[in-house]
């Protein structure tokens, strides 16, 4: 896995796990890879993966069956989606606003391009619905 320079690795791994949950490749109530296996796959410290799992457990995206492993929470996909949305609104959107102000791109132009985008991509770029 390629890690970006500045974001904490445990959060980047949380993003990786969340992506699998959101795409449905790790469905609800399925066991996710053990700490050791995921550490090997991603070539990272197992303590970092443990921190990721604790973080996701705290957000109720996954749950722990003692002695067995970690499992995707029944409403894991919905929680991931909520968190992604919150993160988008709080972090990515302000960055986007800064850029369009800097470059002098008006909201009407953004709206127009978004309409074009929707027309060109009639399939919903689907996130599972709550």
């Amino acid at each position: 896995m390629e890690f970006n320079e500045n974001e904490a690795i445990y959060l980047q791994i949380a993003g990786y796990v969340s992506e699998h949950i959101l795409r449905g490749s790790w469905p609800p109530d399925d066991k996710i890879p053990s700490v050791r296996d995921l550490a090997g796959t991603l070539q990272v410290n197992p303590n970092t993966v443990m921190r990721t799992y604790e973080h996701l457990q705290g957000q109720e995206v996954i749950y722990n069956k003692r002695g067995i492993g970690f499992f995707v929470a029944p409403d894991g996909p919905r929680r991931v989606q909520e968190q992604r949305k919150a993160r988008f609104l709080q972090q990515e959107l302000p960055a986007f606003f800064r850029t369009i102000r800097l470059l002098g791109v008006g909201l009407p132009e953004v709206q127009q391009r978004y309409d074009q985008f929707l027309a060109a991509h009639p399939e919903p770029v689907s996130l599972p619905q709550a």
């Binding site: 890690f3 320079e5 500045n6 904490a8 296996d37 090997g40 070539q43 990272v44």
Partner: protein
């Protein structure tokens, strides 16, 4: 697991390499040992495994002095030097003669690691390339399942895919009862693998801190748009200035080991003051 207290050591009486150096290593962690050329990384590892004898102070493993080289201590530690020595034996012969010294040696694991690293087991070790010899010894070291594993520049001499394979097997080999210490100049090879960073500089340990503790009190990266504080240390880069900032809000970031190391060895007073609570062993 390892306790070094008030260690003095050098190769010449006039040039001490370590003065009053203290360091504690615990189980369940992968330590990265960083230091400039000649700072004494390899020598520190040799003191730790009983290959160099302290002038003063103590260096113990499992509570026993490392220099006494008790068999039960040696059976539970493995030291892989930067330049590996291999006898004129095949891999199988080497395992047959050497593995019995390690009670928890696991042959199935060895086979798995050798396969991962693409090293043949039937070939004569002394006839292999340096990189292949080194990979064989890395696999052997991990399969020995010692609770203390000391690796001196393990990725030196490895080709590009082997470095990734090395990270894979080390990452999956750490257990709660194991302590791994890896010295390196190649911070980019290992920065996702280690969880604790130890810096040796100017005859002592200037930092022994988990990466989590560092990012709790410091933030690494570019200035935030709303940043008011000045960086403790900064360097120019193509992504704009990259710095180390105070982190009162506890924002998560990723430790930039190069930046941290450069700041520490430059004697940056602001950073050193900030880190003093973390580098608690300075005071001992």
């Amino acid at each position: 697991m390892v306790r070094i207290r008030n260690l003095d050591f050098g190769y010449s009486k006039r040039v001490p390499l370590f003065q009053n150096l203290s360091l504690t290593l615990e189980r369940g962690r992968i330590y990265g040992l960083l230091g400039k050329n000649g700072a004494g990384k390899s020598t520190l590892l040799k003191c730790l495994v009983g290959l160099a004898f302290p002038w003063a102070g103590t260096c113990t493993v499992h509570g026993q002095p490392a220099a006494a080289r008790y068999p039960d201590v040696l059976a539970d530690l493995f030291f892989l030097p930067e330049e590996v020595y291999v006898p004129a034996l095949t891999g199988e012969q080497f395992v047959a003669s050497t593995a019995p010294f390690y009670p928890r040696f696991d042959r199935a694991q060895l086979a798995e690691y050798l396969q991962e690293l693409e090293v043949p087991v039937h070939a004569r070790l002394s006839a292999m390339s340096f990189g292949q010899q080194k990979k064989f010894m890395i696999a052997f070291a991990l399969a020995a399942n010692t609770s203390l594993l000391v690796l001196d520049e393990p990725t030196n001499g490895l080709d590009i895919p082997s470095k990734a394979q090395f990270r894979t097997i080390v990452a999956s080999a750490l257990g709660e009862d194991r302590c791994v210490i890896i010295s390196t100049h190649q911070v980019r090879d290992l920065d996702a693998l280690i969880d604790t960073v130890v810096v040796v500089h100017d005859r002592r340990i200037v930092l022994n801190s988990s990466l989590d503790a560092l990012t709790d009190s410091l933030r690494f990266g570019s200035a935030r748009p709303d940043e008011t504080a000045a960086p403790l240390y900064a360097e120019a880069s193509v992504r704009g200035p990259q710095g180390i900032w105070p982190n009162p809000e506890g924002r998560p970031s990723r430790v930039d080991l190069e930046l941290l190391f450069n700041a520490l060895v430059s004697g940056n007073a602001d950073l050193v003051n900030h880190l003093t609570p973390l580098a608690h062993e300075l005071a001992l």
